[in-house]
Amino acid sequence: MARMTARRALSAVPVLIAVTFGVFAVAAASPFDPVKAYAGTAGLTASQENLDQLRANLGVDQPLVTRWWDWLTSAVQGDLGDSTVMRMPVADVIGERLGWSLLLATCAFLVAILLGTALGVLAARRPGGALDRCVSSAAYTLEAAPAFWLGLLAIWFFALELDILPAGGLTDAASDTVTFGQVATHLVLPAAVLGISQLPWFFLYVRQGVTDALDEDPVRGARARGLRERTVLLGHALRSGMLPMLTLIGSRVPELITGALLVETVFSWPGIAAATVQAATSVDFSLLAALTVLATAAVLLGNLLSDLLYGLADPRVGFDG
């Protein structure tokens, strides 16, 4: 297990380096101009001399490989550079925002996993029953519903019609301090929307896995031995039915990141996803590269996590190598 983790970590290094180069290459090839993005509306009245000076100051007149190498060497030494779009060091941007994104994503993930598993097990108990049919058709509908649409719907219903939850932001708009209570109430809608948009996959996997497991010999054996239905369901069927879901946890990470992108935007959540969009459209090389490294690392970690969980849950699988 430790060896697998170490080997994965080692192989992640070239992947991450390649990804950063890819980001620089794609950004350089993109039709967007970092100088225009930096200058914003002021660029529309600036003289060419002013714009050329900006280009030199921002270092974007350097060739692609030089820029990438400069970034990489200073990043290795702990200096992630300055974000041109945020006008502050990249490390500060990430430090300020990553926590809020993690909070949102973790809550959403927990909602999706816990609710998905519970509903999946209940549905699998009586396949074709009323609950199964209701939840399954709801799940298929949800799969097709974009997260931002769910978000707008939630704002309309809970913030506008019922007026019980705030419509956006990290805290009330009038407040300038961050308190536990405020964040908790403001987190409910975005986390629920993001979680529910991920829920169908977990639900459908668990439902299928548990249904299949209930037909397998060990479960039938357990039933024959007269074990309680509850023990059979949770102890036997769920355990083997969970296996495909563990893989799913890892593979949903990228989806969670893109989902968070839309949800953070709809709910004005000050997370890292909104910064990613800005970095990309403004060709903010330093910030974009750092965020891509983070996202790639998250995906690699997600895969590692699901493999580890799978190995733990089913000793027959073991750890590669």
Partner: protein
């Protein structure tokens, strides 16, 4: 079951994760009720500043809340003293501007403000190492010097009549901003100024929170807490205004309409210099022909655009100066007259072809018109313009693109452009019309070349005599009527909805950029909300 699970899941997740993340960010001991109290105001705006450092261009047109300029603009856009005690003394040759500074003013960190801060601010902006995209606006400045601690003298490279209107730009403290990287230091996001409000928090992409500066030299504001929530989406902004989350917001006219007659909210329509225009590049064989330009100028139905595109919130534009401005040249309005437009084209030899599109010497009267992708207002203007042109026999194809796509084509192709600065006619017209700025960045996009206009905009900037300046800009507008290098379409009103409890509010005449410094909250420090301490 389902609801309980959600709540249970959220509560569990909160308990585990929030304790870790929030601990680092929260401010223990604060007792925030969060609800809007009488002396707080929350407004929704659509744009977020990139930086709050005046050294990088923030607040350059005045009105920055955190900072003060040497001068400021009042509700009638007249200059008034701010950090200076009076309007500047201008030497007879127009080359030296002397400002006496207000004494006893302190920055919000308690340090005194002085002449060294003024010199530092201007010298840093003029420094090429500073990433200030608006530096060109201070081109006229040759040098700035402190004389003692209470006097600052600007020396100009050439006489520049509107220079005093540039000195509304905010003054940064040397003792803070001078000790860090100008381009990315903490001052860019956590500014310190002399203004009526102190920034307490900037949560990027979410909001800017301000607290009244109790020691403000102009008197402590009655609105103690002021928040600008950044909500890019128009519909979400309207929704949050309706839900009571916001006390006010800028809205597109069609969404603002829904609030009219609503209880507790008032609608304000700000007059602007914000124009939409079509560039007619001189290097295009069709658009460069004076007959075509004149025909297009009267073939467009500006009134219809105001009614259909702007819901009536705007007015027809015949040049960069709006028709209700004191700088407007009476008699330069052009009525919509399709028959006259056709006559112009007939006389110039543009004969209708088989498909209804005119040709002359084998050249088809057709050219592309670009507009910025995603800008619905510009798109609608472009489509209306093309449709009006088609009726006169000119085939304009509209195309959408980003500035990266549009800029290389500006020499040949028409662009649906926007702009406008109310502070002084020079700010707009010099860069828009001067022939030697043709194709310099985004200056003079149409590469307009007219000797009489060149002479007039030059005279307008150099003369210190208001009557001579008025005559110069009248000449510009008359020349633009005879040789329209641009088809000006509309001036756009900016519409705001704000809670009535703040009393009757005013708006300034607004520039092309809007939402942050302008709006009814341009003078929020003077508001007296109902129920606030008098």
């Amino acid at each position: 079951m389902r609801a309980r699970s959600v709540r249970g899941g959220v509560a569990l997740a909160l308990a585990t994760v929030l304790s870790i993340t929030a601990a680092a960010c929260s401010n223990p001991g604060s007792s925030d009720k969060g609800s809007a109290s009488a002396d707080s105001a929350v407004v929704g705006i659509a744009y977020e500043p990139d930086s709050l450092s005046p050294l990088l261009g923030y607040g350059k047109d005045g009105n920055s809340k955190i900072f003060d300029g040497l001068l400021a603009l009042d509700g009638n856009m007249e200059l008034k003293p701010a950090l200076a005690t009076a309007l500047p003394d201008v030497a007879d040759d127009g080359l030296t501007y002397t400002y006496k500074l207000r004494q006893g003013v302190k920055f919000s960190d308690g340090e005194p403000f002085g002449a060294k801060d003024v010199v530092f601010t201007y010298r840093t902006i003029l420094d090429k190492k500073t990433n200030n995209p608006s530096r060109t606006e201070l081109d006229a400045v040759k040098d700035v010097e402190a004389v003692g601690d209470d006097t600052v003298v600007f020396t100009l490279a050439y006489p520049y009549a509107p220079f005093a209107r540039r000195t509304v730009l905010p003054i940064a403290p040397e003792h803070v901003a001078g000790r860090q990287d100008v381009n990315s230091g903490s001052f860019t996001t956590r500014p310190i100024g002399t203004g009526p409000y102190v920034l307490t928090k900037w949560s990027k992409g979410e909001k800017l929170s301000f607290r009244a500066n109790p020691g403000y030299w102009g008197g402590a504001p009655k609105v103690k807490r002021f928040t600008m929530a950044i909500i890019k989406d128009d519909d979400v902004r309207a929704t949050r205004l309706r839900s009571g989350d916001l006390d006010g917001a800028i809205l597109p006219p069609n969404l603002a309409e829904g609030f009219e007659g609503g209880s507790g909210l008032s609608t304000y329509t700000a007059k602007t210099y914000d124009y939409r225009t079509v560039t007619l590049p001189t290097h295009n064989k069709v658009a460069g022909d004076r007959a075509v330009r004149r025909a297009l100028d009267i073939a467009v139905d500006r009134e219809a655009m105001v009614d259909a595109i702007l819901n009536g919130a705007g007015k027809p534009a015949y040049g960069p100066v709006p028709t209700d401005s004191e700088w407007f040249a009476e008699g330069t309005e052009r009525a919509h007259d399709l028959d006259a437009a056709k006559k112009f084209l007939d006389e110039a030899g543009w004969k209708p072809g088989k498909d209804g599109v005119r040709t002359k010497d084998g050249v088809r009267a057709a050219f592309p018109l670009w507009y910025l992708t995603g800008d619905k207002l510009r798109q609608e203007h472009a489509l209306a313009y093309a449709s009006d042109a088609r009726k006169a026999g000119i085939d304009i194809t509209t195309e959408a693109g980003t500035w990266e796509v549009i800029q290389p084509r500006m020499k040949q192709d028409a662009v649906l452009a926007g702009g406008g600065s109310p502070a002084d006619p020079d700010f707009d017209q010099y860069t828009l019309l001067k022939s030697d700025l043709a194709g310099d960045g985004f200056n003079n996009m149409a590469r307009y070349d007219n000797k009489a206009v060149d002479a007039a905009v030059e005279a307008g900037r150099r003369s210190g005599d208001p009557a001579a300046r008025k005559a110069a800009y009248d000449t510009v507008q008359r020349e633009l009527a005879k040789d329209p290098g641009y088809t000006f379409l509309t001036h756009i009103d900016h519409v705001y909805v704000v809670g009535s409890r703040f009393g009757a509010l005013t708006t300034q005449v607004e520039p092309h950029d809007h939402g942050l410094a302008s709006g009814p909250w341009w003078n929020v420090e003077k508001w007296t909300p109902e129920g606030a301490d008098k």
